[in-house]
């Protein structure tokens, strides 16, 4: 029997969702300050409208939903996915008011893409967008990378025991420190340190490349946010192709890879456990699959004679593959060049890299390195069992922060989520094919959306069918929250309607 949620359940969900949305409104104060600094008055008013709308929602819901009850697990999941839903709806206001959006759906697409660190976009005439709106686009992706709930946890939740349940609901389950609020703050400490160093390196490089000081600084900040959050947004429509510089690309590669690593791995390194990077199952899995996909793409592009020399070939292939595998979405080639220059094998290699994706509990998406590592170890364990005597007890270990014995339950859990991702990729690809796109391009684009990568081969554009836009929005949402939270929200809605 499905139990209809009680009034208390609605109140607790409303109260915590309201808190998260107030957090979103407070985040908009940063782009508002940038707009005022650059005397972009129309954009500044867009942000005042949007901040006020977030506060009306947040304070209004909090005024109505008064309860002393703390969150249960199902509440946590519903708050996480529900907050993302409302944060997307209200976060799209500055985009829509800017006049650069074809429709509100397009702007919802952009904001969901930002929060989920995907990087696909519908904004039109990006090259004439204001500094304030660009700040908001990149801040969305930076905040989304850490998790918007992590932001709320850090600043608004004040030590509630149920906070961990919302944190897990957002697709993160590592406790770096005993207390979840301290964990959220540790994530911010790591991210802000990287922000300072990364922006400095990119900014100095930008100055050396001929950018003016203001543009060098803001481009560095935004490119850092796009790279670290594995978001892939960039301030110009040319993406990182704008800079035409191998030095800038190398810095981006370092930041993209660092951003794709598990926060637990970062914390281990931070606290002096340097050997973790060599031993961790996720880093090993990442470097193995990155090497394989890079070699395959390099081999076939060399055969097709696309690039004039080995250095150019490796530079282009490695950058796009790192970008795809870390689920960032930066590119130094035109979107359509994936089709017109790289061809089917290049598309497939990039699709596989995107599908596997980054590390768990990172800013990235995709199936995740730890699941690939666990499944590979599980397969090896089964093979060893088959060739060992019946009486032998075959056990496999994997290393993630500590050595852990591999259990059948762990392998089954990894397989379940992997199958869910593969099903999502397949459903979206079929919808793309039904709309007339070739299978390789439809699969590339859907995998890019659902793995939160953001590379495009040209399918995504403001004129694409609305159903496909909605498919990609759901793909981004489901992929980022790793299914459970969204299923919990749907279940909650069903229980409200059909429960007894």
């Amino acid at each position: 029997m499905i139990v209809r949620p009680r009034k208390e359940d609605h109140l607790v969900i409303g109260k915590f969702t309201g808190k998260v949305i107030i957090g979103v409104g407070m985040l908009m104060l940063i782009p508002l300050a940038v707009s005022i600094g650059f005397r972009e008055w129309d954009t500044a008013v867009d942000f005042i409208v949007s901040i006020a709308a977030c506060f009306v929602f947040g304070f209004g819901v909090q005024a109505v939903c008064r309860t002393a009850k703390d969150l249960s697990w199902s509440h946590g999941l519903v708050v996480a996915s529900g907050s993302w839903f409302f944060a997307t709806a209200l976060g799209a206001l500055p985009h829509f008011l800017s006049g650069h959006g074809g429709s509100y759906l397009d702007m919802l697409f952009d904001v969901m893409s930002g929060y989920t660190t995907t990087g696909l976009y519908m904004l039109q005439d990006l090259d004439h967008v204001s500094m304030g709106l660009n700040m908001w686009r990149h801040l969305l992706t930076y905040a989304g990378g850490q998790g918007i709930v992590v932001i709320a946890l850090t600043f608004l939740f004040k030590g509630t025991a149920g906070a961990y349940k919302v944190y897990v609901g957002e697709g993160k389950d590592e406790r770096l420190l005993p207390n979840v609020i301290q964990t959220a703050r540790a994530i911010w400490l790591v991210s802000l340190t990287w922000l300072g160093i990364g922006t400095l390196f990119l900014g100095v490089r930008g100055l050396m490349l001929g950018q003016g000081p203001a543009r060098a600084f803001f481009h560095a900040l935004w490119v850092f946010m796009g790279a670290w959050s594995t978001g892939g947004f960039a301030p110009q429509s040319y993406n990182t192709f704008w800079f035409h510089d191998i030095g800038y690309e190398v810095i981006c590669i370092v930041i993209m890879i660092a951003g794709s690593f598990n926060f637990a791995l970062h914390w281990a390194m931070w606290t002096g456990k340097r050997s973790e990077i060599r031993k961790n199952v996720e880093t090993i899995s990442f470097f193995v699959t990155l090497s394989i996909t890079t070699m395959v793409a390099t081999f076939f592009l060399a055969k097709a004679n696309v690039y004039p020399d080995a250095m150019s070939l490796f530079r282009k292939v490695f950058y796009q593959l790192v970008s795809g595998h870390t689920t960032t979405g930066f590119s130094t080639i035109y979107a359509r060049a994936f089709v017109t220059q790289w061809g089917p094998i290049g598309l497939i290699a990039t699709t596989v890299a995107m599908a596997i994706g980054a590390s768990a509990c990172s800013t990235g998406g995709g199936i995740k390195g730890i699941r690939m590592g666990v499944i590979s170890k599980g397969v090896l364990q089964d093979i060893r069992r088959m060739i060992s005597p019946e009486s032998a007890v075959v056990m496999e270990k994997y290393h993630h922060i500590r050595d852990t014995w591999l259990s059948d339950d762990t392998v089954r859990a990894a397989m379940t989520v992997t199958i869910a991702y593969l099903s999502l990729y397949a459903i979206g690809s079929v919808i793309g094919v039904l709309y007339g796109y070739p299978l390789d391009q439809a699969a590339f684009e859907m995998v890019s959306a659902a793995s939160n990568t953001g590379l495009s081969c040209g399918v995504t554009n403001p004129l694409m069918p609305e159903v496909l836009k909605i498919t990609y929005i759901f793909g981004m949402w489901l992929g980022r929250l790793e299914f459970m939270s969204v299923f919990a929200l749907i279940g909650y809605g069903y229980a409200v309607v059909r429960g007894k």
Binding site: V45, V49, A63, G102, D125, H244, K316
Partner: protein, 193 residues
């Protein structure tokens, strides 16, 4: 008398033409690119190594690298009038990266951004599908730059309805905040699970 009148009329017409000339130039149709940036990206092999003439809005900034510089020219729907000026939305930006002698970029007075519509310039040069000199970038190596139309400042005023909406919502948010603070301690008692 008649001769003097005709002379004055002709001189007036000539003066009018002189004054109006920049306005005509400003409104002169921009030559359509053939190939356009879209065609170059769609058929890179076909155009690789060919000489092209390309017209577009100078975007962002010039990045000088020694004697040469990078500029980016957009030949999209916003080349003459951008979205901030009320141009009808026409899809993504599209354009080409141009590698050009730095001295030739001095005539470009404005680069397009939020507050500016960039100068429209025409370049001639060689298209590279994957440039050997620039790590495989798709670019055009230009040897001539001609100014077609100077750029201009874009004014984006705040519409009255937007200012009123901002004020109304801000007041409402303030009122709700006040109510929330006042009623904070009136909590629905929790009856346990």
């Amino acid at each position: 008398m008649r001769t003097r009148f005709i002379t004055a009329l002709l001189m007036g017409a000539a003066l009018l033409a002189l004054c109006a000339a920049p306005a005509w130039a400003a409104d002169a149709p921009i030559p359509k690119n053939d190939p356009s940036s879209t065609q170059l990206v769609e058929k890179p092999k076909q155009f690789n190594g060919t000489r092209v003439t390309f017209t577009g809005e100078a975007i962002g900034e010039v990045m000088v690298r020694g004697d040469y510089a990078w500029i980016h020219l957009n030949d999209d729907a916003y080349m003459e009038r951008n979205a901030e000026e009320g141009a009808k939305l026409g899809g993504y930006n599209s354009g080409m990266a141009i590698w050009v002698p730095a001295a030739l970029t001095k005539q470009i007075d404005t680069y397009g951004d939020y507050k500016h519509e960039g100068s429209i310039v025409q370049i001639s040069g060689t298209f590279n599908a994957a440039c050997k000199e620039h790590g495989g970038d798709m670019d055009i190596h230009a040897d001539s730059v001609t100014m077609i139309r100077p750029g201009h400042v874009v004014v984006d005023p705040v519409p009255g309805w937007k200012a009123a909406l901002a004020a109304g919502l801000a007041l409402l948010a303030g009122a709700l905040y006040w109510i929330e603070r006042k009623t904070r301690n009136r909590v629905t008692p929790h009856r346990g699970v």
